[in-house]
């Protein structure tokens, strides 16, 4: 019973931490806009918690560069499982328009595994919401899979 409740809660209470790798602010502000009245992601239990130790979902915007890749890795390491990584915007997915710049490593997936890619430049708040929803769906599927795995073994 408790386990079921916990699993349900994991889907209903995604706390996010947002890290701006090297975004031009476009995706950044759109991510912030998700929290504001018109989009109000708190409807899904989302809280912008700001601290990787408390967060379940890491939203990354912008390109990864040589300095912030360590920061990104650190943040990732400080989040406890289960966690979701959502890369936002063309920059976060592949480096976008900056992918040829000398200090750009590329997308977020060059450094940490990414669960959901949200395209756009910038990604619209709607797209970011879609991304979070998609991530939660993935989490749900994983839970399901774990269960069947457990039964099988």
């Amino acid at each position: 019973m408790l386990k079921k409740l916990i699993e349900k809660s994991q889907i209903k209470s995604p706390w996010i931490v947002h890290y701006d790798c090297g975004s031009c602010n476009g995706c950044d502000i759109e991510t912030l806009a998700c929290l504001t009245p018109l989009y109000d992601v708190e409807r899904f239990g989302v809280l912008n918690i700001g601290n990787p130790k408390h967060a379940d979902v890491l939203l990354v915007t912008g390109t990864v560069n040589h300095r912030n890749k360590k920061v990104l890795k650190n943040i990732y390491d400080q989040m406890s499982d289960p966690k979701l990584i959502i890369a936002i915007g063309a920059c976060g997915l592949s480096g976008g328009i900056f992918k040829e710049a000398y200090n750009v490593v590329g997308g977020v997936d060059k450094v940490i595994p990414v669960d959901v890619y949200v395209p756009g430049c910038p990604a619209k708040p709607e797209a970011i919401i879609d991304g979070v929803v998609e991530g939660l769906a993935k989490l749900g599927e994983l839970q399901q899979q774990n269960k069947t795995d457990a039964i099988a073994s």
Partner: protein
């Protein structure tokens, strides 16, 4: 503080401004630069779009008769749409949906259009007028 009380109470009694997004989807603006598509029947594979694209996310392979775009690198700037001599590129008014893996959109051309056809198509592709920009969405 009193100034804010008025705002806060007004918010409290009026309907909240939230657009309940995934439940109720607002139609996109007419000119919104959403997902990029190509009407392949018109495309001549001239590669102009690929040349002008600032992110080099379009690849045109004339031998294989394919036109592909990487929607996860595209910045939806609309340059390709502007430059395409065939007007076969267009943005949908909806944003490209998030995905768990990055995949390219590869479109294959059945047969190259005949040269005379190319000359005929000089009007813009018809995009359904979804919304009137004068409408207030709040």
């Amino acid at each position: 503080m009193p100034g804010m009380i008025k705002n806060v109470l007004k918010n409290f009694i009026s309907k909240s401004a939230t657009r309940p997004y995934p439940i109720e989807v607002r139609p996109g603006f007419k000119d919104a630069r959403g997902e990029l598509t190509n009407q392949m029947s018109k495309c001549t594979l001239c590669t102009l779009c690929a040349k002008k694209c600032p992110t080099q996310c379009i690849t045109v392979l004339r031998k294989e008769l394919t036109w592909e775009v990487d929607p996860f690198t595209c910045v939806y700037c609309g340059i390709c749409v502007d430059v395409c001599p065939q007007n076969c590129l267009s943005h949908s008014t909806e944003h490209k949906k998030p995905a768990r893996t990055k995949t390219k959109l590869i479109l294959k051309q059945e047969k190259p259009p005949a040269p005379e056809e190319i000359i005929k198509t000089d009007e813009k592709p018809v995009v359904p007028e979804k919304i009137d920009p004068g409408h207030d969405y709040h």
